[in-house]
Amino acid sequence: MNWSEFFAQGGYGFYVWGSYLSALILLGGEVILLKRRKQSLRKRGGRDPR
């Protein structure tokens, strides 16, 4: 199997990669937003209780 075949996914590339891209955006976006939320809390609170 070569790479252009792999990206084409038998002609369903748009649907297959669209699905996995939306998964990446939603889950990756959740992680990034949570990181930011944590950082802003740390800035506001000064110390991180452990």
Binding site: Q9, G10, V16, G18, Y20, S22, L26, L41, G46, P49
Partner: protein, 241 residues
């Protein structure tokens, strides 16, 4: 050791912090393994071609959407019945991740529906009830943010979450109760699954990855919620514990 002490946000906060890597790291590894099997090991389907590979993310997303809703309603109910604030915070944390997985199942379902059914969307029983699930999550989150007093917001959210639980068995059985366009269950609790082993493996590994991911992000968000809500408590403001 008294386990009940972990019902206190100040005791649970450091415990959750220690637990997070134990879920986040295996989740990342399983995402890689599951996607590798899904794209390089599992064969092309003789009916659907490669479009069926959407299943590996669509099915876990749909299951997580339903499962996290039941879990959210459970924690919201416990928080309401026993006045346990950590439990209510857990429900709020679960709601966001559950809503995201439900949205993901609708988006991937639409992208799968177009090549196989010829349409992105139909008002079929399963899809409509899943859309209602998303609205229940969004309703829960907006209701909570609309009420200033945190404990009152928790109680109002709990009522909505518990009433909405009825929707979950409706989604699950919709393909049996109504004549729907959506296909029936591929995996049954009893009896053999009707797909090839590498396809099943990819799907189950990605399901495990989504589950571990959910635990990790829900705990991270729970820690944020604890800090936000308890910012005036001595253990937060003084960096104690």
């Amino acid at each position: 050791m008294n386990l009940y002490r972990y019902a206190s946000p100040s005791a649970f906060y450091p415990l959750a912090g220690k637990l997070i890597p134990w879920f986040a790291i295996p989740a990342t590894m399983l995402f890689v393994v599951g996607l590798y099997i899904g794209f390089f090991v599992a064969p092309t389907d003789f009916q659907q071609g490669d479009a069926y590979r959407i299943m590996f993310i669509h099915v876990p997303a749909a299951w997580m959407g339903m499962f996290l809703y039941v879990l959210m309603a459970f924690y919201a109910g416990i928080g309401w019945a026993f006045n346990a604030r950590l439990s209510s915070m857990m429900a709020s944390s679960l709601a966001v991740t559950g809503a995201l997985f439900t949205l993901l199942s609708l988006v991937t379902g639409a992208l799968w529906g177009k090549p196989t059914w010829g349409t992105y969307w139909v008002w079929d029983a399963r899809m409509t009830s899943t859309l209602i699930l998303l609205f229940l999550y969004v309703g829960f989150l907006s209701l909570q943010s609309a009420i200033d007093d945190a404990r009152r917001a928790d109680r109002a959210g709990a009522v909505l979450a518990l009433v909405g639980v009825i929707n979950v068995p409706i989604i699950y059985f919709s393909v049996q109760w109504w004549n729907t366009l959506h296909q029936g269950a591929t995996i049954r609790i009893l009896g053999k699954p009707s797909i090839a082993p590498p396809m099943l493996a990819a799907m189950l590994i990605l399901l495990a990855a989504c589950w571990l991911y959910s635990v990790a992000v829900v705990l991270i968000r729970l820690r944020c919620i604890i800090l936000e809500r308890e910012q005036n408590a001595a253990w937060v403001s003084e960096g104690a514990v």
